[in-house]
Structure formats: C-alpha cells, structure tokens
C-alpha cells in the first residue's frame, strides 16, 4: 500500500464516522442541521480521498461529470417547491440507483472474467436492485407529479405476469452467477430489472406512496451497499446500509400506520377496490357558510388543524398558518395533528407546515393528540380523508379496518374543508362527513382558509 492509499482509506473512515454522527443529529430538529454539515464534510473528504488515492489518470470525464451533476443538483435543491418534495425525492432515488447500476455495469464490462463467485453475486444484486429502483422511482415520480395517472393501473393476470418476470429476472441472475462467460444472461437480467421496476410501481395507488417511497429509499441504499461489496469498499457498505435500513424502518412504520403488510401494499392494488361495505355512511352532509365557520373558530377555546394531501395540492400551508396565528392572537389554543401517512411521503405535512413557519412544537403526532380531541371545540380537517375515517375504527368490514386514525369525530364539532363531495383516494365513503357534529366547507382549501381568516378578523 502506498501513502496515498492509506490517505484514501483514512478519509473513508472519517466519512463513515461523520455519516453516523449526522444521522444521530437527526434525532432532534435543533441538532439536525449541524449533523448534516458533518455529513457534507464526510462526503467531501471521501471524494478528495478517492481522487488522491485511486490512481486517477483521466480527469476529463470526472470533471465534466462533477460539473454537470453539481449544476443540475444545485438547481434542483434551490428551485423545487416544498409541495413537490415527494417527487423530487423519488427522482433523487432514481439518480442514486442509476449510478449504482452503472458502476456495476462498468465493473462487469472490465472485470467480469476475474471476478470470484461472491463478487459476482454482489454485482448481480447491485445491478438488479439499481436498475429496478431506477425505473420504479421514475414511475413513482411521474405519478406524484401527475404525469402518470395516480390511480393504480391494473390488468388481468398482473400479479402472475409480475411473478413470471421476477422469476425470469432471478433466473438470469443465477445463470450469470454460475456461467460468468454468458454475457447475454447479464444483460437479460439488466433489461428485465428495468421492466420489473415499472411493473412493480404502476399498480400502486398514490395514497400508498409513503410506503413505496420508503421502500425505494431502502433499495437505493442496498444497491449502494452491494456496490461496496463489489469494490471491497467499506464506506460504501456503511453508507448504503444506513440508507437501506432507514428506508426499511420507514416502510415498516408507514405500513403500521395503515395497518397493512408490505405485500398487501405492493400487490394488493389498493385504491382500485371500490368498497361496497361502506356501511353507515348514509344521510346528508351538512354544509356550513364561511361566516358561521369563522364564528365557531373565533369563539373556540381549542382548535386542532388536521392537514392531509389536499393541503399540499392546494398549497394552503401559508393560509393555514395565518389562520392559526390569527386564532392564537385571539387566545385560542391551536395545534396541528399529523397522521404518519398524511401526504405522499413520511413527514410530508411536517415539512409543509414548517415551511409556513409553524413552530414544530405545535405539530403533534397521532398518539399524542388523539386523547385531546374530546376536549377540542373545533377540529378543522383540511384535505384529509382516509386518515380521519371512523370506519377504520368502528367497522370491522371496512377495507381500512384497523388502520389507526386521528379521532376527529370525538371533537365537539368538526369542519371539513374539501374541494367537492367526492371520495378519498381509497374510494371509500367517509361516515365522518355525515355525522351531526360535522359541517362541510366546500372549495379550494387555500381560498377557504384565507377567507376564513378574513371573516375571523371581522368577528
């Protein structure tokens, strides 16, 4: 080993430690930002270490790649609005996974003949995961952006076709593993993985995106970890594993928050099912006028806002915070109840409300806020539906039975801001809307909220 190699390995060790410290910092909003500076430092060190220690002979491609990538990356970081965070993250997973897949293909092109069985196995794993995550993430991003229909795309025999494809993909992987000379097996596996990524995400409805996002996050990380095994590089293994596990933990949390298994999310095609068992959802929805709603809010003691994906689509986070502040200035206690799967990715609502300057101490998690609903005068539901559907708790026949919900129906009164009388993404009727204590305020959430604020001022 030469001195430059030692230097390179030292930077990798430093980077690994800094990455772990960075994630430790994420345990609190106060320390999170400082933690990320550490991670950035670690990344910089690893890059410098590699450039010094890896016997670089051709600089053109490296400099060009770094320059182009930095420009696109910086542009994305600065220009993407917070409401578009889920699709940006999905796109980012696609980029990361593609890089891992390409490194794998490059290694295959150059060194396939000298690889041992273990390295070949890791390589196949890396390329397969990388490729399917790339196309899967692109589809997810397309769905979130609205370029591709958010409704699950399903056809007869879909699961059978997916299964057949998965078997063919794994078979070509095994074939490549046993017979490294057969180049065709490797490329077949690569092609099948790209196709499989598309088919994996297409049948999943937009409402299940938090799980899909977490899973893709996990896959992208595992692909990077596999790259580490191929290259015999520990920092890649560590960073990839951290990412892989973080994605895995998030998927499990999201599934728990919907009371469903990962298999059910991936292969159930949820959201395509039109539930016939929407039992007690009968009766009339009571509409409320702006002035009456404003009056209720202005004279309440405690108000809880319950945001859902509708808040994001209407970009109503600022209007929501303004109304909240106005109420607080009148002495009303205002809190925000965040369901774990509200929105399209884990923590989506928190980010939006933080952008609107809502202090994080007023953002409450489900377990923490549920006992407070009975003593709440008004719960304001903004573009949320399934996460406040009492059927999940009361009706064992409902397809969302057992999913933990925000128990807004226990509040003294409920105001639901909704665009129209339509159903939620799961296609379920929501008995909450028919309860006597519930009043509906139709219209775009953003304009409804700012009109409410004006009306409260005149009370």
């Amino acid at each position: 080993m030469t001195i430059t190699t030692y230097f390179m390995e030292a930077t990798y060790l430093v980077a690994s430690i800094l990455f772990v410290l960075a994630l430790k910092g994420m345990s609190h909003p106060e320390t999170a930002r400082r933690g990320m500076f550490l991670a950035e430092g670690g990344m910089f060190a690893a890059i410098v270490g590699t450039l010094v220690g890896a016997h670089i002979v051709t600089w053109v491609w490296i400099i060009a790649g770094l320059a182009v990538g930095s420009i696109i990356g910086a542009w994305m970081a600065v220009s993407v609005p917070m409401t578009a965070m889920p699709q940006r993250t999905a796109l980012s997973h696609a980029f990361g996974a593609l890089a891992a897949a390409l490194v794998g293909i490059g290694e295959f092109v150059v060194k396939a003949s000298q690889m041992g069985a273990v390295t070949r196995g890791a390589l196949g794993f890396e390329v397969m995961l990388g490729a399917l995550t790339t196309t899967g993430s692109l589809i997810a991003a397309g769905k979130l952006q609205g370029v591709i229909a958010g409704k699950p795309t399903q056809f007869r025999g879909q699961n059978a076709i997916n299964l057949a494809l998965a078997i063919a993909m794994v078979a070509s992987f095994v074939f490549f593993w046993i017979q490294p000379q057969t180049v065709a097996a490797f490329y077949t596996m690569l092609g099948l993985a790209f196709v499989f990524g598309v088919l994996l995400v297409i049948p999943i409805g937009s409402a299940d995106m938090p799980v899909v996002m977490s899973l893709l996050n996990s896959y992208a990380g595992l692909a990077a970890a596999a790259t580490g095994f191929v290259l015999g590089n520990n920092v890649l293994i560590i960073a990839g594993t951290l990412d892989g596990f973080s994605g895995f933990i998030l998927s499990v949390l999201m599934c728990k928050a919907m009371n469903r298994s990962i298999t059910n999310v991936l292969f159930g095609g949820f959201g395509a099912i039109i539930a016939e068992a929407s039992s007690n959802a009968g009766g009339v929805m009571r509409e409320i006028s702006l002035d009456d709603a404003a009056m209720q809010l202005a004279f309440a003691n405690r108000v809880i806002f319950v945001p859902g994906y509708g808040l994001a689509t209407a970009q109503a986070q600022h209007a929501c915070r303004e109304l909240g502040e106005l109420l607080e200035s009148r002495g009303v206690t205002v809190k925000y109840a965040i369901h774990p799967v509200a929105g399209r990715m884990p923590g989506h609502m928190n980010v939006l409300l933080a952008e609107a300057n809502v202090p994080y101490s007023s953002l409450c998690e489900m377990e923490q806020i549920n006992p407070e609903f009975p003593s709440t005068d008004v719960a304001v539901v903004i573009g949320a539906n399934d996460v406040v559907n009492p059927d999940a708790r009361d009706n064992p026949k409902s397809i969302i039975a057992g999913m933990p919900i925000l128990e807004v129906d226990r509040a003294r009164s409920v105001i639901v801001l909704k665009r129209g009388q339509g159903r939620g993404f799961s296609g379920l009727e929501n008995p909450l809307f028919f309860k006597p204590c519930t009043a509906m305020l139709y219209g775009d959430a953003k304009s409804s909220l700012s009109h409410l604020a004006q009306a409260v001022q005149h009370v």
Binding site: M26, P29, G96, A99, L231, A239, G244
Partner: protein, 112 residues
C-alpha cells in the same frame, strides 16, 4: 474477493445495519422527510465508485463513459440531496415566527 475480506465486509455490513437501526429509530416522525432526503444524499457515496470508473487506471473508454454518466447522476444525488435537506432543516430550526425579524418585509404591498 478473498474469504478474509468477505468476512470483514459482512461484519461491517451487520454492524452498520445494527447501528443504523439504533440511530434511525430515534428520529422523530417530524423529521422523516429530511431523514429520507439525507440518507439518500449519503447513499450518493456511490459517487466514489463512479469516480474510479470514470478516470482510474486500467479502465477502457466505454467504462469511462459509463463512469461519466454515473458521476453525473451520483453528483446530482449528493448536491441536490444535501442542498434540499439543508433547506428543509433550516425551516425546522426556526422557533416562533417572531424570532425571525427578516420574515416579511418583501410581502408588504406599498400602495401609491
């Protein structure tokens, strides 16, 4: 890969998984979006593999070109990921709105 290196790598993987589980289960739901974007940026570490492919000794031109694309996408991942994570965490760092005096001057509409 010789067996000793493989075993060491498996150790690294297992310990990193364990450590990751311990550290990440402590992240509050409040920060789940920044967490995802941060771990995504960190996994952009495959950039260092891409760098080797794009320019190291012993790799032919096709590998360099694959490497160039990989360096580009991995850099997008790293720069974009860290950039946006920081933008989000800055928002969470804010205390009460009153604490940021520079909050609103440009939103005032001056009527003439």
């Amino acid at each position: 890969m010789n067996p000793a290196v493989l075993i060491a790598s498996v150790y690294v993987f297992a310990l990193a998984a364990f450590l990751g589980y311990q550290v990440i289960s402590r992240v509050p739901p409040l920060l789940h979006t920044p967490l995802m974007s941060a771990t995504n940026a960190i996994s952009g570490i495959s950039l260092i593999g891409s760098l080797v492919l794009a320019g190291a000794k012993g790799y032919p031109l096709p590998a360099h070109i694959l490497g160039f694309v990989a360096v580009t996408t991995a850099t997008v991942n790293v720069v974009g990921g860290f950039g946006i994570t920081d933008r989000m965490l800055k928002m969470f760092g804010k205390r009460k709105p009153e604490a940021t005096p520079e909050a609103k001057p440009e939103t005032k509409v001056v009527k003439k």
